[in-house]
């Protein structure tokens, strides 16, 4: 699948190339009665209609995230489906005290995507491939920042230091472990761990996220 506007634009300050496309990919505002937490609780009781409603709300984020990590649309579709079916199966284990429904489902999808890319090749091979095919992190970072339609998320990512931003986006959008990020960025392991943590804390504060 080709997405107009993805990958071509390189300048952070450019507006999205195709606003219509971008709008469709943006999560819709959630009308009353469709709170994802409530929907997921209904799914836990076997409510398929609630699951369909959750799908409609979350599928673009789930699929888009998985696609970023696995990079192949056919594999992304497969992994997204596996993740959604897993969410259906284990919905009874969702506990809002541990986090929101959106976060719970994205975590399942992200882990599955990451498992997929990590199991395909030994870590060392992936790194070697990354080094030789030169698909560098700048690419990820720039794509991410150009495609951020939500001004707040964009502004907050811009507010990170270069190393914080690279470490976080490489891990989340590419599925690298912090060890791999450390190798890729030629930065000591403890520094990478610390930058991931303090970068996320800065993002949290900037976005005003509370648990």
């Amino acid at each position: 699948m080709t997405n107009p506007g993805e990958g071509e634009t390189r300048t952070t300050d450019m507006p999205p190339v195709s606003r219509g496309r971008a709008q469709r990919g943006t999560p819709a505002p959630e009308p009353a009665g469709s709170d994802p937490n409530e929907l997921l609780r209904r799914v836990a009781r076997g409510d398929e209609a609630a699951f369909a409603a959750l799908y409609d709300q979350l599928a673009p984020r789930l699929y888009g995230l998985v696609l970023r990590v696995v990079r192949d649309p056919a594999i992304a579709e497969e992994v997204t489906q596996e993740a959604l079916v897993e969410a259906w199966r284990s919905a009874a284990r969702f506990d809002q005290d541990k986090g929101s429904a959106v976060s719970w489902m994205l975590t399942i999808a992200h882990r599955r995507a990451v498992d997929r890319v990590r199991s395909e090749q030994a870590a060392s091979n992936r790194l070697r491939k990354a080094a030789t095919t030169d698909v560098p992190y700048d690419d990820v970072v720039e794509q991410a920042t150009t495609r951020i339609e939500r001004q707040q998320v964009r502004r907050c990512i811009d507010g990170l230091t270069g190393l914080q931003r690279e470490a976080i986006l490489l891990a989340y959008y590419r599925g690298y472990t912090y060890r791999e990020v450390s190798d890729l960025l030629e930065t000591p392991l403890p520094t990478v761990k610390t930058r991931m943590r303090d970068g996320l804390i800065r993002l949290r504060d900037c976005l005003g996220v509370t648990a």
Partner: protein, 254 residues
Amino acid sequence: MTASDIHSLSGAYALDAVDDLERVAFERHLRECDPCALEVRELRETVTRLADPAAVDPPPSLRSSVLDAVARTPQARPGRPDRSQSSGHASAARWRRFAAVAVAASVLAAGVGVGTWTVAHRDATDARHAAADAQARTDAIGAVLAASDVQVIKMPGRDGGTVNLAVARSQNKAVAVLTGLPALQDDQVYQLWMIPPGGAAEAVSRGVLSVGQTADTRVIEVGDGVQFGVSIEPKGGSKRPTLTQIIAAGEFST
């Protein structure tokens, strides 16, 4: 791993930038550290926001395909019936078990292609046996990973791949996870070893992989082992490891 080491993993953990065994170790820490649990919850919600700009509409066919699959898929029950669902302790235990089982299942899926979820799609008859086997295995793995004294040792393979070991000495058990090892010749196999303080001359075999097998997850006995190793041996395995062919080894504390 020291306490401050493990604290500093919260960012990497929230980003899924840790491997399966680190994840288990960190989740064990989380259960004993309320401020860490709160921090992780907030960082996870923060990470979730990073999915917003990544949103892309999936192919329209995905919707019906997912909804069809869901209509055919039974749902797991919450927790175990013998535990009170309302107490905080039971809820923590449920999460602990879920975490351990989820990891074990993903390790199994990645390692040998037997995830618990694939079981749901099989024939009913097959499924009962397969589910019982998978469940027994998952329980055994989960028990080791949930032990309070679990130690995690990571061993990069000499020629690629990874060997990870979770040791629970209190249970005299360990889980060995071999992934992505290079393929061998037709007359060679990988063999697992527990090595006592006396060294490799006293090593005891803990299993031989099949010809062509390059990944595995198995529960093994620790015995008086203080080191674990994997070597390349002739088909069928050897009595003692071939010292020049040890492709991964690691020590753990007694």
